[in-house]
Every structure is written in C-alpha cells, then in structure tokens.
Amino acid sequence: MAINTDKNSYTIIFAVIMVIVVGSILAGFASGLKPKIKENERFEKQQNILYAMGVNENEGPNDATFVSTDKVEAEFNKYITKQLVIQGDEVTENDEAYLIDIKKEETKAKDPDYTRRLPLFVGEIEGKEVYVIPVRGKGLWDAIWGFVAVDKSMTIQGVYYDHKGETPGLGAEIKQRYFMDDFTGESFLNGGAFEGIEVSKGNNDPTNIDKDDNEVDALAGATITGDGVAAMLRKDVRLYVPYFKSLN
C-alpha cells in the first residue's frame, strides 16, 4: 500500500480531513465539558464572596481554603441575605447579581447613555452586617480581581484577591494570607472622604499595626501588581461611595 504522499492533491485532502477530525474532537470536548466548567466558575465566585466576608475553612495562619464546593451553595444562601444591583440612584434586589460580569459592565459604561450596574452582596456573619464589593483591575501581566467585604462605615472586614497570570512567587503572592489579611481593619475613608488603600513600599509600618493610615505593606518584587491592587480598589470601590453615604 504505497501511497504517494508527495502529491499536492494528497496533501490537501490530508489537511482537510485532519482539520475536520481535530475540529470535531475539540468541539466534542468543549461542549461536553462546558456545563461542568460553567458550574465550577459559578461555585468559585460564591466561594470568593464567602471567603471575603470571613466564611472559609482556613486551617492555621498561612492557609487560605474556601468552603468546599459541595456545600458552597447552601452556605451562600445562608450567609448572603441580599444581593443588590445598584444602577444610578436605583437599588434593586436581584438573586442573580453575583452572575453580573463586571468586566462587561465596565466596557458598557464607556457609553455615556449607559448607567453601569453595580452588584453588591449584603451578608450577615455573627450578627454583623457586611457588604461585599467586587473589584477588577490590571496587574503586571493580566487581569487581577477580588472581593472586598466592608461594614457600613467602609472599614474592611476581609478581602479576597485573585489573578490570571501574575509571576509565581512575586505578584502571585497577592492571594496569600499575609498580604490579604493586612487589609482587614483598614478604612477606605479618611476624615469622611474616600481615599482608598495604598499598597505602599516606603511603609514605616510593615507589620501593619496602624489601621488608620490607609496603607498596607507592599510585596517585595511585585511593585506593579501591588500598585494594580491599589488602583483597582480606588477605581471600583469609589463607585459604591454614594450608596454607603445613603446608608448612614
């Protein structure tokens, strides 16, 4: 069975068949696994929100573990009392607010006629009301995002950060406990006005005892990722300030 594999017609037929076969294999895999992948993404978002407000399975001071996927849905319904969508002055309740893609909202908001929808999650933990704000920004290589839990006075109760492709060991450390935990207790406000949180390199307070300085200690070797975190918080949390003003 000697096929002349050098002929042009054979080459073209081979290429066509190859493309069809490979294309259908990949399409089969993609559509077969899609529901499972989507579900994973939904669970992850719920886990992140719960983590920020302090519902997690952390063991020890360095461990950041979410509530497990098999009970995340139940825990989410238990701790999150209300999901709000803020659009301009209008605040509506919406049980699917956590599915709002804030990246898409940010793009849409470039159109001056569009009022951006801002999701906000109201939860209750140990009798205390917390508000979880989703944030999204840019790191060094790619997107970074997170969830910030604050109380009525915009003092941070907990945060969760994640990233798409920051350098392991450097920028990727933003999702480590020792960085995230520093934010707890800091306030976004300074003298009643919104200031944000600076991720500061020239910090005189590396163990973060002073909680009124609007500063946390930066990560060595991750200047741009750290600045990205600060910029992301300033940009996205600011949008919620009018709502918090109306609360008090």
Binding site: F14, F29, L33, D162, K164, P168, G169
Partner: protein
Amino acid sequence: MGLLSKKDSKLIMDPLADNNPITIQVLGICSALAITAQLKPSIVMAVSVLFVMGVGNVVISLLRNLIPSKIRIIVQLIVVATLVIIVDQVLKAFAYSLSKELSVFIGLIITNCIIMGRFEAFALGNKPWRSFLDGIGNAAGYGVILIIVGFFRELLGSGTLFGFPVLGNPVTKTGLYAIGYENNGFMVLPPMALIVVGIIIWVQRSKNKDLIEEN
C-alpha cells in the same frame, strides 16, 4: 527489566541521564525558566508534558506513513495543540483550582521544543510502542530537571515547599530566620533557573566525564 527489552529500556533511561533533553541537548529551557519558581507548577507541568508527549508520539507514529512530508511540521503542531487543549479543558472541568493556577503554563506546553523535537526526530521514523517509550522517557527526563530546579528555587527563594513554610517564618523570625538566615529573592526570578540548571549540568558532567565535549 523483564517487561522491556534492553533496547527498549534504553529509550527510557537514556533521556533520564546521559541524554537528558535539558542538561545535554539544552532543549525546553524556556519553560524550565518560566515555571520553576515553585515546586507545584513544576510537577504539574512535568505530568502534563508526560501525557502530551506519550500520546502525541504514539499518534504521530501511527500516522507516520500517511503524513505528507511537506506539511509534517504543521501536522505535528496540530497534534500537540489538540492534546494541550484537551488537557486544559479536562483540568478545568475536574480540577478547577489546579487549572486556575496553571492554565497559562499548560498553554506553554505547545511551545515546548522537546515535544516537536521528539515528534520530528523519533516518532516519524519508529513504531508506536517504541515511540511511546521514547516520549515517556524524554518527558520524564525533562520533568526530573524541572522538579529539581523547582525544589531549590522555592526552598531558597521563598523558604517554602508546596507553599508550606519549612524554614520558619521570615516575618516573626522563627526557625532558621532566628539565626539571621534570609530568603534569597533572586531565586524566584528566571535568571536563577538558568544558574541552577548550569549547576546541574556541571555536577552531571563532572560525574560522567564522557559527556564533556572536547574542542
């Protein structure tokens, strides 16, 4: 080895030592630099490459008499890319947290020159079983170096292994840090991977003098 003939077992053992793809052939250096800052990504990368090379070599070997030589590189690239996408999707569906940590690196497998190199140099001219062994052997040789480099870089750079602190806490100064030890921040940067690989090459060649080229 009873299972494998002497010639076959040579296919696996050679790349692990005297014909290692990284330290002797100096292939696949790019990914070895990029992902070895920590141990866990190094191991997952090694396992993923093992899968892609084992299966890929068999597929190419099965098709070796059918692939038109004019477009063989494209065909090889398609086979690698397909396998990598499958790995990526399966990880996303069944090991979501792991895939989130590694998705960028998984994509990088496509650019690994060892894979294309073995397809071209071995699988195109050999039977499936031998190609499979060759793929596994080369991927293992690559993986071993990755894991060694990852081990030293994470240990000396961050003082952790798999993310667990093993040398004490650098902030509260416990363990080794109490007596003045400091993490070497340079270890987490890519250039140090090259230096660690260099040291491995040095050790290997001084143990086996046959490997030293004369010129």
